[in-house]
């Protein structure tokens, strides 16, 4: 019998920073074409979890694998080339580069490597894809927040990742922008991409995710469909305290 391999598998992963256990023995799988939300109160270890997957931090224990290959010993550049692309909680653009060059950075060194005209055309396609004017020669520092987020997303997409990590991609957007943002992420989902997203916006979680992993104080406390998980007593207690439950 052939067992189906998950696109991404996190097995018993722990991360300690000195005495602080930021992530404590967390396991979950992400199937191909699935959108999985990682949620939890502030400081519950969600972003650390993302950093562990992308290779910014190395797990103290446990294993992260992708299609049977071990990712958790590799440096970030190797993980990126294996096909994991990420955005950052606080947008990170390259201020010395033009908008198109920012996106080209993803295309040139990413999972599928392009160069020259090919990379530039692809970068413009990706800018179009996220709803940016690809001909713009504006400086990246003059962009609005959502446009900065768009450029960063385009940079990640330009690497054609097999797994996309979105770290609070919707945070900091105003209500109108939020709607645009949710539509954009939904479009990614409709393309059949495999996505792990950390999010605080519960409406977005309900609207977008196939499944959720709930973290609290570094541990996984629940996992399942968003509607089900969000009404779980322990999850409500984690968010609102004992009185809320």
């Amino acid at each position: 019998m052939i067992r189906r391999r998950p696109a991404l598998s996190v097995q018993g992963v722990t991360k300690r920073f000195g005495g602080l256990v930021a992530v404590n023995d967390v396991s979950f799988d992400v199937e191909k074409h699935e959108m999985v939300g990682v949620i939890g109160p502030n400081g519950s270890g969600k972003t650390t979890m993302m950093n562990l997957i992308s290779g910014l931090h190395r797990p103290s224990a446990g294993r992260i694998g992708m299609k049977g290959r071990r990712l958790s010993d590799l440096p970030p550049q190797r993980i990126a080339r294996e096909g994991v692309g990420r955005t950052f909680q606080l947008v990170r653009l390259l201020p010395g580069l033009s908008i198109v060059e920012n996106v080209m950075a993803g295309a040139v060194f990413g999972h599928r490597r392009r160069w020259g005209r090919d990379a530039e055309d692809f970068a413009r396609d990706m800018l179009d894809r996220v709803g940016m004017d690809a001909r713009s020669d504006a400086s990246v520092t003059s962009l609005t927040y959502i446009d900065q987020k768009r450029v960063e997303l385009a940079r990640v997409l330009a690497g054609e990742p097999e797994i996309l990590l979105l770290d609070e991609w919707l945070a900091g957007l105003n209500p109108t922008e939020l709607e645009t943002g949710i539509d954009l992420v939904r479009a990614l989902r409709d393309e059949g991409r495999t996505v792990v997203l950390v999010e605080h916006v519960m409406d977005a979680i309900r609207a977008l995710c196939d499944r959720c992993v709930v973290m609290s104080a570094g541990r996984k406390i629940a996992e399942g469909e968003p509607g089900e998980v969000l009404s779980d007593r322990e999850v409500i207690r984690a968010y609102l305290g004992d009185d809320g439950a």
């Binding site: 992308s54 290779g55 910014l56 440096p75 970030p76 550049q77 990126a80 080339r81 692309g85 990420r86 950052f88 990170r92 390259l94 201020p95 010395g96 580069l97 060059e101 080209m104 950075a105 993803g106 040139v108 060194f109 990413g110 999972h111 490597r113 160069w115 940079r155 690497g159």
Partner: protein, 311 residues
């Protein structure tokens, strides 16, 4: 550093050809300044190859340069080795030394990198002096060749042109693009798939290669070489000042810094020999406060502003 185009390469080639005629039209005094200028053009351009895009200020130039001069001195003085063989060996040793320093400083950035390279250069200077005094017997080394100033000038011009050409090729390549990304945000660089360590070590190695080669070529000019003289830390600071004065954002920009700085320096050194170090300090202050992106950066900024006003 924006990728340079073909017109820039043609202009640079024309400038190099024009520069080759200098020894025919000037007297010995100006030829001497020309040799100095060409030496610093080669050093500052190769320095900017690494430090321009990565923004890691290296003060190790003096160490590589010294290795070049010292190896030529030892080889020719103690072992009767031919100049060319020692020059080639120097460049090779400089490259290896730079690669080792590059690997050791991978995790350093900002002021830590600056201090580390300065300290390391001093350590190498003292180590070489110590070995020379205790094991090799003689304090000084003689480098006697038939080269005159114009020959050194042409050799340095060839090195400077090679550095420029290499930089031109690198800046249009994946490696050059990778360095620009690294200079902006190293974390992003790694997350888009750039092997930041390899890119930095490769470029730093090139810097070491050329600085040692320049040190080797200039050695015959001194005839008599002492470790303390060729490993001068002042040289490292000069290279940084000149490159920053021109602007490290363009491949040809350091050249714009070398010439005015050398002319003023020669005048200051001749007129106020005791205050010359003061001038060095003032030049640093001036660059940091008035020209953070150098002459070229300033000119481009003004041009953009005028365009903005016009459009």
């Amino acid at each position: 550093m924006k990728p340079p185009g073909h017109p820039e390469l043609i202009l640079a080639a024309a400038a190099a050809v024009a520069a080759a005629f200098l020894p025919m039209v000037v007297n010995n005094y100006w030829l001497g300044i020309g040799v100095d200028a060409m030496m610093y053009v080669a050093l500052a351009t190769s320095w900017a190859l690494f430090s321009g895009p990565t923004r890691h200020i290296s003060l190790a130039t003096g160490a590589f340069f010294g290795v070049g001069g010292f190896l030529v001195g030892t080889g020719m003085s103690d072992h009767q080795a031919p100049f060319w063989a020692m020059a080639a060996l120097s460049a090779f040793v400089g490259a290896i030394l730079a690669a080792l320093i590059g690997i050791a400083t991978l995790r350093l950035s900002g002021v830590y990198f600056v201090i580390f390279t300065l300290g390391l250069a001093e350590m190498i200077r003292n180590l070489v002096s110590w070995v020379q005094n205790n094991f090799l017997g003689s304090r000084g080394l003689y480098v006697l060749t038939d080269f005159r100033d114009q020959h050194l000038y042409w050799m340095l011009l060839a090195v400077a042109s090679s550095v420029y050409l290499l930089g031109w090729i690198v800046n249009r390549s994946r490696l050059g693009f990778a360095l620009r990304v690294i200079g902006d945000d190293e974390t992003v660089a790694r997350h888009v798939g750039i092997d930041t360590a390899a890119a930095k070590v490769i470029l730093f190695t090139t810097t070491g290669f050329f600085a040692s080669l320049v040190g080797a070529i200039i050695a015959p000019r001194w005839s008599y070489i002492e470790p303390n003289q060729v490993f001068s830390p002042q040289l490292s600071f000069f290279v940084v000042i000149m490159a920053l004065l021109g602007g490290a954002g363009r491949l040809w920009a350091p050249i714009v810094g070398v010439i005015p700085f050398l002319l003023i320096w020669n005048w200051v050194d001749a007129s106020f020999p005791k205050q010359s170090i003061l001038f060095l300090g003032l030049a640093f202050l001036l660059i940091v406060y008035v020209l953070p992106n150098g002459f070229v950066g300033r000119i481009e900024q003004l041009r953009d502003r005028m365009r903005g006003a016009g459009g």
